[in-house]
Symmetry: C3
Subunit: 314 residues, 3 copies
Amino acid sequence: MQLPAPVSVKWIADFVQGNILGDAAQQATGINEIHQVKNGDISFVDHEKYYKAALQSAATVILINQAFDPPPGKTLILVEDPFRAYNQLVRHFHPFSFPEKLHADDVQIGEGTRIAPQVFIGEHVQIGKNCLIYPHVTIYDHCIIGDNVIIHAGTVIGADAFYYKKRTTPEWKYEKMISCGRVVIEDDVEIGAHCTIDKGVSGDTVIGKGTKIDNLVHIGHDTRIGRACLIAAQVGIAGTVIIEDHVTLWGQVGISKDLTIGREAVVLAQSGVPSSLKGGQTYFGYPAEEARYKRREIAWVKRIPEIWEKVKHL
Amino acid sequence: MQLPAPVSVKWIADFVQGNILGDAAQQATGINEIHQVKNGDISFVDHEKYYKAALQSAATVILINQAFDPPPGKTLILVEDPFRAYNQLVRHFHPFSFPEKLHADDVQIGEGTRIAPQVFIGEHVQIGKNCLIYPHVTIYDHCIIGDNVIIHAGTVIGADAFYYKKRTTPEWKYEKMISCGRVVIEDDVEIGAHCTIDKGVSGDTVIGKGTKIDNLVHIGHDTRIGRACLIAAQVGIAGTVIIEDHVTLWGQVGISKDLTIGREAVVLAQSGVPSSLKGGQTYFGYPAEEARYKRREIAWVKRIPEIWEKVKHL
Amino acid sequence: MQLPAPVSVKWIADFVQGNILGDAAQQATGINEIHQVKNGDISFVDHEKYYKAALQSAATVILINQAFDPPPGKTLILVEDPFRAYNQLVRHFHPFSFPEKLHADDVQIGEGTRIAPQVFIGEHVQIGKNCLIYPHVTIYDHCIIGDNVIIHAGTVIGADAFYYKKRTTPEWKYEKMISCGRVVIEDDVEIGAHCTIDKGVSGDTVIGKGTKIDNLVHIGHDTRIGRACLIAAQVGIAGTVIIEDHVTLWGQVGISKDLTIGREAVVLAQSGVPSSLKGGQTYFGYPAEEARYKRREIAWVKRIPEIWEKVKHL
C-alpha cells in the first residue's frame, strides 16, 4: 500500500510508541509486509528467524522487537509488538470500511458494462468497459476490474487474506493481519461462478489479461496470475504465488504458497504442487513431478509383486 | 434436539401408530439420531446390523422394526418403518419453516454487529456482539453466532445435512433425513467466503472459539471443531467428525466421517484422512500418515528401478 | 440446440460468408458442437486432427476450413474460421440475454413451489411443482427444473461452459465458445449449497431423477448424471461426462471429461478418475482403480524396505 504522502519516522514512532534506532529524519512512502516490500516502505519483523531477511530487505523503516545497528539507509523502530504496531499503522492509513450501504461511494463503472441485480459493489471499486457482472457477485472495496471482463454468479472478489499471527501465550490464538491490498483484474478475463479471489495483504492480487478461470476456484492473497492462463474448476492457489503467462492448471490442482509456476507449464488434474515448477513442461501427482517420470513411477509400483517373486526365497 | 416438554411413550406410539414394548409410562425429553443420542432421547434403528448398538445406546425410547425384550430403563416402539416414524416426530416438534420472508421472526442481533446488504437471516437466529456479516451470506433458521465473529461474502451457515436413507425397493431412491439441529459458532471465529457449514441432523455443528476458516471450506453435519483451529481453503470435513483444539488443516484436505483428529495435529495440503489421527503430529498423503514415514515411503518408491537392476537377472 | 424452423444451407452460407460444397438445397434443423451432434445439425471442425471424425459424424452441415468431397447426405460450408462462423450462428439463433431485470420474462413456476428472497431466476426458466429454492440461488436463462426439487442457498444453475478455443497467433489467447445449451434438473433432485452446474455448450446438462448432491460440487457442461446418484461434497465433474444410474461419488472426487462411469459404481473419497469405469465396482486412488487392487498396491509399497533388505548385498 502506498501512503497518501511521505510520513516521517518521527511521526510513526510517536504513533506506535516506539524508539527510533537510526535516522529519525527518514521518510516512509508505503506500508508492506515482507513479501511485498519496496524501497520507501514500512515493514515489520518479530521473530529471530526473520530478523536477517528483514534487515536485508528493501524496507526503509522496520518495526522490530529487538535492537540492531540499523543497516545503511534504514531506520528501525523498536516496539514491543511489531505485528500490532504494523496493523495499527495499516488501520490508520486504510480506515476500516464495512459494506453497510447498497450503493457504495466513489464507484466507477465504464460504458457498456452491465451489472445484474443482486450484485454488491464496495467503495472505491473501478470497473472498466463492456463487462458482464452476473447476479450475487460481491466485489469488496478498492478492487480494480478492467475492460471486457465477465464474472459469473456468486464470485467474491477481494475478501480478506487468510493471514494470522499465532500467539500461544496467554492462550493459543490467531490474531488477524489487516489486509489493505486490492484485487486487480486485467482486461478480457473471464471468471466462473463461486470463485474466491482474496485481496492482497498489502499489495495486489492480480489476474492477468485474457486469463480464463472456471468455477469454485480459490486464489489467495498477493498471488499474481499471468496472461492467458487457463485455470479449471476447484483449483486452489495459496497466497503470494506467481503463475507466469500461458500456464494451464487442470481441475482440483492445489498450489502451495510462495512459489512460481513457469511460463506455459501444464499441471494435470488433482496434482499438488509444494515447490516451484519450471515452465514448458507437463506435471502431475503429489508432489507434482514431470508427467513422463511420474507415469514411469506408477508403472514401477505395479511391478513390486514381480520383484517380490524374484527375491522372496533369498 | 430437546423437546419443549417431556412426552409420554403412549403419546409417541399413538402418533407414529406403533406398538409399545416395555414401560408405557416412560417419558422422552429429546429426539436424536444414534450418533448424538442422550439419556431421555427418542432414537430409531431399522437394520439388524445396528440393533445391538441401538439397544445398548443411551436412548430411552427406540423406534424399531423388530421385537426385542426392552433393556432395563428403555421402551421400544415397534413400527414398520422406524426412519419414517422418526422423521414424522422430528417434523412435528420442529415444524418446517421456509425462508419466504426477507425479515424473519425472532432474530436477535447484538450491539455493534454490522450486517451488510443482501444478507439472509432465517428465523430464530441469534447473532452476538460486534460481528461483521458480509454480503450474500445466508444463515438458516435457529443458528447461533457468538461475539466478534466475521463471516465473509456468500458463506452459507446451516443448510440441511447430506443424510439420506437408501431404499432399493420398489425402486432405488434416497429418502431425506429431516435435519432439526443447528450450527453454533463460538466467539472470535472468522469464516472466509463461500464456505458451507451444515446444521446438525439432530444435534449441533460447532465451530469452536477463535477458529479461523479460509474460503470454500465444507463442514458436514454434527461435526465439532475445537478452539483456535486453522482450516485452509477448500478443506472438506464430513459429518460427525471431532476436530480437537489447535488443529491445523492445510488446503484441500479431506476428512472422512465419524472420526477424531487429535489436539494440535497438523494435516498437510491435499491429504485424505480415512481414520482418526492422534494429536501432536504432522500428517500427509492418502491415506494420511505421519509425515516422516510418508516422506520415507516416497523416497523408497523412487528406488524401485535401482532394486530392479539388482534382481532383474535372478 | 434445435433451430426454430429448418434453415437452408444457402442461407447459412450467405450468413457466414462461406462457400457451399455439395447440396445447397439441404436444410439444417439444429446447431451442435461435435460431442452432441445429431442428424440435421450444423457443426464445425477446424483442425486436421478432427476432420475425419467430423465428416463421419451425424452432422448434416459442417462448417470447415479445408475442402473435401462431401460425404453422402452432408453439405460442407467452407469458411476461413469455422469456430467464429459457428459462434456467429449460435448468437443469431440464441440472442444474448443478460440478467439485467430482477423479474425476468416468461418464467414458469409450478404450484406449491416456494422461492426464497434474493433468488435470481433468468428468462424462460421453468420450475416445476413443490420445489424449494433457498436464498441467493442463481438460475440462468432457459434452465428447466422438475417437481419436488430442493436447491440450497447460493447454488448457481446454468453458468456458461468453460470452453475456449486457443489461438496462438497473433498472440496467445482463449476465444470463448458461446453456450446455447441448458441445464435440465429432473424430479426429486436435491442440490446442496454453492454448487455450480454449467449449461450445455449446445445440448443439455442433465441431473437425473432422484439424484442427491452435497455442497460445493461442480458439474461441467453437457454432463449427464443418471437417476438416484449420490454425489458428496466438493466433487468435481468435468464436461461431457456420462454418470449412469445409482452411482456414488464420495467427497472431493474428480472426474475428467468425456468419460463414462458405469451403473452402481462407487468411487471413494478424493479419487481421481482419468478414464471410464465399469459399473458395479468400488474404486479409489489416482488414477482410480478397483479398490481391492489399489489396497494391495498400498500394502506392496510398504514392503519395499523389506525387499531392499533382501537384495541390498547383491
